[in-house]
Each structure stands twice: as C-alpha cells, then as structure tokens.
Subunit: 141 residues, 4 copies
C-alpha cells in the first residue's frame, strides 16, 4: 500500500480560543494530504479540475485523540483505504513530533462533472488514474 | 426528543472553486446548531467556558448528500443522539428551502478543563446541565 | 447617504488562541454587510454573479480599535464612501452592544467578467445598478 | 533592510466561487510571512505568547493587483516598514512564479498582555527583540 507523508504548516489562524487547532481544520489538512498523495501518483488535482470535473467529498469521519497546538510540527499520512472504480476512500493520520497519530479519519469521494454534479466513472473515463489507484492500494511501499 | 432549527447565513467566503460550500464548513454550521441547542436548554456556551472548561469534539462524521450553493436559504436541525453523563453526541441535518436534508452528521463531545484537557463528568460537576441533557433526550418536543 | 446595519453571528470558529476574533474575519463580516447593503438596494449578489460577472476587492484597509469576543452581539454598519461609475468603495463599522465602532474599514471593488477578469463599467453595462449606487450616496436615510 | 521570502502552500479551501483565492486569506498569508520573519530574527512567536503577551493587529491595508489561483506557486516577501519601540509595521508582497507582486500590503502591531490587552513597550520589556527589530530595519541584507 502506498503511503505519503506531507508536512503541515500549523497556522495561527487555525487556532481557536480553546488554545488548540479548531477541529474543522483537520478536514483541510486531510485535503492537503490527499492532494500530495494524488501528486505522488503523478497527477495534479488542479489539472484534473481544468477538464471540467471535480471530486466532492460524500462521507467523512474524524477521530480526535489529542489536540494539536500552534508551534507543533505535524504531518499528515495519507493512503487509499478503499476504491471500487467509482468511489475512493482515503485514510489519514495527523502525526506529531512524537509520531503519535493525534487525529485520524477518512473521506470518501466521487468524481462529478462540475457543470451538473453528475457522477463520472473513474475506471471508464480516466483509465490511467484508475490504474494508479489500483496500484497504490496494492503497492509494497 | 428536543430538536432545534437554526438559520445559517451562507457566506461567500464559505464557497470554493467548485462553486459550492466547502465541505469543512459544515462542521462550523453544526457548531452553530449545537450552540443554539445549548442556548435553548437555558445555557450559554461562552459562560460555560468562562468557568475554565471547554468542550472539544472527540468524534465527527458527516454525510454529504447534496451540495449547498451561495444564495440558498439553509438551516441546521440539532438534537441529542446519545448522552451517558460524560459524553454527549449531537445529531445534525442541514435543511435547504425544500426541506431536504442535504448534509447530515454527528459530533461527540466531552468536557475538559481548559488548563490541562483533563475530562470532567458533566453528571457530577454540572448537575443542572446533566438534567437538561437527559430531559432533552426524552422531551416530546 | 444610505446606511444599513446587519447583525453578525460571531462564530466560535472565528476566535483564535488570543481569545478574540481573528483579524482576517472582519473582511468576511464586511462582506456580509456589503451583501446586505446591495440587497437593500434591490439586488442579489448571487444573481449578479449568475450573469457571468464577479466583483473582486482591489483595495482594503482595516483599523482595529478593540477586539470582539465570542458571545458578544455585534452588527456591521455599511455605506458607500465613493463611487465613480467603475469603482465602488464601501465603508464599514463593526458595532458592539455599547454602539462602539470596534473595527472600521473600507473595501474598493470593480466589476469584472468571471471568464477573463476584464473590467466592466457599471454605469454602461448595469444602468439600474449605477442609479441605485448614485442614489445610495445621496440618500437622506 | 532584512527581507525574508516564505513559500505559501495555496489550499483548495482558500479558493472561492470566483475561482481565485478569497481575499481575506491574504491576511493569513501575511501572518505566515510575519511568523517566518520573526523566526529569522531568532524568535518563536509561540514562545513569546507563552510569556502571557500577544501581538494584535491594529491597522492593515491590502492592495490586490492580480488574483492567485489554486495550483500556482507563491511566496510571501516580508520586511519591517516602520518601528518605534512600541509599534511595528510589517510590509508584505505576495509573489507568483513570474516574480510579480500580485498582492501587497502592511500590518501594524502592538504588544499587549493577554490577560487585559494593556500595551507593553517592546523597547523596555523585550530589549533583545527591540534590538533585532532595529537591526532588521537597518540590515544590508
């Protein structure tokens, strides 16, 4: 299984008055991990979008084990948990300097046409991308 | 079961280049619903925090059925799904003008001391709040 | 001069670890005021955009006199400071419960085609809108 | 005059339905530049805050010359425009891959006690920091 690790720059703006990173921001960090993962497969998400398709989230779950504070060095680990040719589920772990998985989660995505949000089959419309996903799930890396 | 409905003002800033509300913002809308729900129980979240406790999210899940666009009128429906004296799980549905539940989800919370993030039992430390939660789960409203 | 006052719902997510509203959020609040002002003139910003034009900010300035905290009731006062047929400058004041102008500022906007960001003259392309702006500057309200 | 250049990772979440980076996010990018600049002077903003002081913005101005799109590589250039022992004004320029200054601006800051937002003189309370600021303005780098 292919796994990428991407550094996250914790932004002061991401903290809240609890003194920790506001919980919704982890979905943004997951997205940074996902974009980097796709790039590691040889694709650029912004180029994919320029072809008139977008990849909305249909399901997300997050488990918050430990808060992250401003000033900490963190990174997001990303991998593919599931893929069926139509829907892809990414897994994520936010790691701190002690390599603890402070926040974990997953997001499930489909591909749709930007104009009408109609679903597109990755397998049929994007065979290169399809093969990259299949390989990423099987890879020994 | 007590249920509140709170209008959400969709902000232009919440859209992304897909032309729809960015998915992480639904967690912010859930929070607006949660705050209004707590207020409907007779409490003010900012007063609770001024006593040195905060209420972090420990688990969240979101299901995105249909995107929301800028200019739509939406509201968040909030209720208590589960409560055991220590942890409370809120349920949410984002409703559009056609009363469709476009996004649904839940968040589980604990109460901790702001200074050290040590858990506090709502039942023992905040009996009034505890009773309000129990009643809200049972209420015929 | 026409002036509108629009309530702002301070969101927990908008606070930072200083314990106050994060400064960039005031630009979002200004936008809420601006949208409500335009609506009070009889227009809907999302309908304007659906005609293929957008209204980017070209200049912004903000003066922060006093921080706003979560739990405060605030509103944004909006008016037109300047308008020349091409560029419009809105003025804003964030008022707290004591009617103090805690944050003030202005944003200057042009109208451009969404496809290529080429400027459009409001006076020539949108005469109704032009007249509404001129009246709003002169109005005795 | 000391100048730093810091890469910015443009986040999908920062775009809006105009298809460009939402204008308020530039204040967040300015902050990333400011934090990196302070670090280049040998200080850590989060350590400064742990001493019970914070550094709120009192004035900000931004000029938007050209929009930034998702997928672009950008960096923020930061320097000190003005400093009087009490207030410091940072200058910023957001540079794209063609080295164009797409967005420029400045933010003026004071230092206050977090507990009561009372001003603190940098010169008197933090002589090391004061000297670093003075040198940064004069530096031939």
């Amino acid at each position: 299984m292919k796994v990428t690790e991407t550094p996250i720059q914790v932004r002061y703006q991401e903290t809240d008055q609890m003194g920790v990173v506001y919980h919704a921001n982890y979905l943004v960090w997951f997205e940074i991990g996902r974009t980097a993962f796709i790039e590691a497969l040889g694709f650029q998400y912004h180029e994919i979008e320029s072809q008139g398709i977008v990849s909305p989230v249909v399901d997300a779950d997050i488990h918050f084990a430990k808060p992250i504070r401003y000033g900490e060095e963190v990174r997001v680990k990303t991998w593919i948990k599931d893929y069926d040719g139509l829907r892809v589920t990414y897994g994520y772990a936010i790691l701190n300097e002690q390599d603890e998985a402070t926040v974990t989660g997953s997001t499930k995505h489909v591909i749709v046409k930007k104009a009408n949000f109609r679903p597109v089959s990755i397998r049929r419309a994007y065979p290169d991308w399809h093969h990259a996903y299949v390989q990423a799930m099987e890879a020994d890396v």
